[in-house]
Symmetry: D2
Amino acid sequence: MSYNSFGQLFRFTTWGESHGPAIGAVVDGCPPGLALAEGDIQPWLDKRRPGTSRFTTQRQEPDQVRILSGVHEGRTTGTPISLMIENVDQRSKDYSEVSRAYRPGHADYAYDAKYGHRDPRGGGRSSARETASRVAAGAVARAVIPEVQVRAYLVELGGIAIDYSRFDDAEIDRNPFFCPDAVVAAQWETVLDAARKAGSSLGAIVECTATGVPAGWGSPLYQKLDSQLTAACMGINAVKGVEIGDGFGAARLRGEDNADRMRPGADSPQFLSNHSGGTAGGISTGQPIVVRMALKPTSSILTPVETITSDGQATDIVTKGRHDPCVGIRAAPVMEAMVALVLADAKLMHRGQTGR
Amino acid sequence: MSYNSFGQLFRFTTWGESHGPAIGAVVDGCPPGLALAEGDIQPWLDKRRPGTSRFTTQRQEPDQVRILSGVHEGRTTGTPISLMIENVDQRSKDYSEVSRAYRPGHADYAYDAKYGHRDPRGGGRSSARETASRVAAGAVARAVIPEVQVRAYLVELGGIAIDYSRFDDAEIDRNPFFCPDAVVAAQWETVLDAARKAGSSLGAIVECTATGVPAGWGSPLYQKLDSQLTAACMGINAVKGVEIGDGFGAARLRGEDNADRMRPGADSPQFLSNHSGGTAGGISTGQPIVVRMALKPTSSILTPVETITSDGQATDIVTKGRHDPCVGIRAAPVMEAMVALVLADAKLMHRGQTGR
Amino acid sequence: MSYNSFGQLFRFTTWGESHGPAIGAVVDGCPPGLALAEGDIQPWLDKRRPGTSRFTTQRQEPDQVRILSGVHEGRTTGTPISLMIENVDQRSKDYSEVSRAYRPGHADYAYDAKYGHRDPRGGGRSSARETASRVAAGAVARAVIPEVQVRAYLVELGGIAIDYSRFDDAEIDRNPFFCPDAVVAAQWETVLDAARKAGSSLGAIVECTATGVPAGWGSPLYQKLDSQLTAACMGINAVKGVEIGDGFGAARLRGEDNADRMRPGADSPQFLSNHSGGTAGGISTGQPIVVRMALKPTSSILTPVETITSDGQATDIVTKGRHDPCVGIRAAPVMEAMVALVLADAKLMHRGQTGR
Amino acid sequence: MSYNSFGQLFRFTTWGESHGPAIGAVVDGCPPGLALAEGDIQPWLDKRRPGTSRFTTQRQEPDQVRILSGVHEGRTTGTPISLMIENVDQRSKDYSEVSRAYRPGHADYAYDAKYGHRDPRGGGRSSARETASRVAAGAVARAVIPEVQVRAYLVELGGIAIDYSRFDDAEIDRNPFFCPDAVVAAQWETVLDAARKAGSSLGAIVECTATGVPAGWGSPLYQKLDSQLTAACMGINAVKGVEIGDGFGAARLRGEDNADRMRPGADSPQFLSNHSGGTAGGISTGQPIVVRMALKPTSSILTPVETITSDGQATDIVTKGRHDPCVGIRAAPVMEAMVALVLADAKLMHRGQTGR
């Protein structure tokens, strides 16, 4: 069954297919009185917009967001905020092949098994296009947590990782990869160009850091902040792994090396390391929250792969159309949005308990 | 705020502290008419039970489960199933030090920040002991999905990974590590003994496979099967990373190598590989579901680490008491339970849509 | 906090203010493959549309619904169905007085206390206009429960009750009151005309019958069908009371008179009466479901009433503008929609358990 | 499907059958630091306890509550509070007849249709005994809302209403009927004795007043305070109608008579009447909240009524056993509990938005 809402107190619901007239989100539970205008949302959509470099799909979408409700004279009213983005460039003829055969790596077969129909536009709901709605909703979430800065960037592409010693925050917006390491950004350009020309695709790892989160957010045991963050990220298309702090690397440390030792600090304790990635027992510790997610290579490739038709015949498929050679790139703004959405909800939940 | 329920149609709520009189779970939404007795639950609890080898805590808990409601003459009635496990060996004096200083890597500081009190028994809620309730609830979930086999085992401990070519299902229950590779199990014994004697601890990676899940389970976009599985596993104590199928490894593959090619099969398509780990677009594909989770090393160690007291003074802490030198071991039965609980819910949700 | 979603498996979320550009609903969880077009929704909106007689507000709204997602080639796809209705006649100048003083009987003061702002358009969310979104969503619900017929009609207006012995189903659509008793409809016309001319307003009681609901729907104990139905109706503007079956009248019966005696029937038991209104223990019995709700008289009246301004000064207020002299009339199609929405959800929930 | 949880931030789940070993509730989301002991819960259970007069069932249950978790040294810890009440006097042999034929007015047939089994103990879940769990949970809710006083009492029994001019708060606990009118209490004694001796039963109307609720609680549009209160009361056994403020009576007033006029007050506005029962637009207004619910006469009566057996044969049934001749009496403490539970949740929800 389709389930398109997320969050407990700060909630959003998205709707819309890749090839319908529009997509959108309804954000509910937003506190009243927050400054919010279309101009606060648009820049985040622009970051995620297709067609801004040769490394993203050439689909041309202006992605202009409209606020249809919930805001009056530049302030939220506490009522649901309806956000709509019209689809402009929805050439559905590109997808004729899809209605005939299942694309490996895509949800075609699974959707068919679940929903019992062969509508390629139903697949349109699983398109990366839907993530524009999340980015728009995420911009509202940012208004709820002005004390928090959320920042996502790629740390690996095609198996080439950044060197953290060269990490430069200012570099992230200077290249088409949201890469904080200028040296590695150049290498990614080369390998991704090669992959694209070869009709292939590459995977990536995206990291997101949220600073300014106070200690205490998160609802153990079954809405731990870690669970909420990882569920949110795992729900992004093509994501196959998520980790917090040292993540899988922590499994190779000894107890004394993994401990985030504490010393007295000014207002709050000083932690000597952040192996935990800013959470303990499912609750924020006040340290920066660090989440990483791994994306598989784009499944839509020009290299022919074996598959079957919907009536069970063997065939080969080549997925033409306009596709990102690495979906990880445009996933960075989406990850930021999802992390912001989780944190906005966690903040309101925490308030529900304590009034703080 | 504390949130202790999980699931939509098949739900469970756990309660109880490590050092209170009892712990338990209420399982709601279970269909009527399923065969269920205490004897169906106890074996799973016995697998997770402490004190069965020198590699787990020496706390002695019989972990006898009682069914207090929801079952009549050996069949579920469709009403809530209340499960209770009495705590027998709750020597709380062991924990006196905890009430004085924050243990790095534990939730002490975060709980204090959230709940505003220094009750070491509140920390008792974040104890691994709570997971016995999950294992009991998971046994009920298994009754809902008899078509599915769920199996968890360790694939890495202290940085030493198994060799999949030696994978032997029968071996898993022959060693104290739920290790499917007899050669590596022997190595783990050595390194874990050494770590234990050194007052240190080790991390681990646990894998869980669920076979028999039909294609079609999962509720995109925000209750994708992947997200639900990830949230469930990430909610287990000490887990810092979760991946599905090739997970982080998929980020290093090219599109054509990551594609799970399909050929015509007898009843359902034949997949030539399972990089995806049994899901696509958040929906099961009919292939085995493969989830892996990484656990950090046990935070309770005898090696002194720097910390602060609850009134902000610098100190060192040594966590005495009875602790598992590698919490990953006893996490295997818990992971099985959580995966079973997610799948039971996904099955009922799918039925809600289709009647299938 | 604002909370604008309803339902568990079949869910909807509404958005939009009375004086914004549009209002709408997102319906999620709808099974795929159902026939649905704008033409299936429009007739229900037309029934509720303002300005169709002198007994409803003279605001002119065409209430044309657009389906923006979730339907492909006339069939639902299983993805969220976004419904939008543009506001055409939103003369907000009519409401200038409202921004100055609290209208007794309206939510002005309560909204102010909750949201801390004096935006009359925030009050626009509590306008009867929002119910158009519910009616649109209700039309989708009807597609989910084709076996059920839902029918609402007024049984009392201004204290004048119908005579059930004259109940004529065909009469309901022949008068502007959804009144099944032609004799009483004529009386209502007289008293309502008089009230309207006097600048006053009248209350009403609306009854809704759902036939064709099989035995077994409803989720005791805390999502009993009765609770869901009454919560849904109590959420309609101006409703102050709800009852099932004999309702308050049952409190005056003796046990033997209130018993719905049973005799053997062909396929299912034959009940000799329906005091219970089609539910028992929170579960449908297979008999017609009968719900009644009481609406207070319209609060917007031309008769001056004492009130205070938002800065606490005493004043009198007269609510000009275009208002229904009896909001109960247009509440009938809304009640039908809410009952249909509850039943669609209950049907899917029941399926989730049993596959039936 | 069975659904046994209620609430959003302040939640509870009940479990247990009438004839099992115990019943109980798990209360989750309770803020930490509140004073709570078994002695705070027991008095409310004692009010509802059976066997305290000849007008309630003669089943003897001490209803001793145990707190199994969530409280440490007399204070809530913020973790789930598990409450258990052992069943002592569960003579199940009394119910042999029930397993043979459906009792009209009971849930027997509906449960059978839903759950597909003929377990009279499943019916035990729909027993009034379950309400003890609610009363225990309600006592926890009271600790969350110390500013609110919740009080329920009978205003009508067997068709005989109290005279509000004789309303005496102190009288409520002096008679076995929770009746605030001593004159009418004497009349009720006579009619109820007669009904009981005749093997019949009577219905009742119970009113509940909550004072001290500040303006602003409630979450429009779909978790309006009115809807939540209504759903909570309608979920109590035998309730067939619920109204707020003037309720059904409001349908017979004119707009100017129904308006709750306002005058300037000291801290908050002074209302000149309370037709609305303390809510407007689904939000509390600061006035007392007034809810009334109607209960049908007890369905278990000694008068034979026509019914069918589970295999479809015509028969007559007499429901022996120990039953309340008027279930409305013991429903008063249950109503208080449910109202307190709704208000505790509404308070936390409101805080989630505003921090107030």
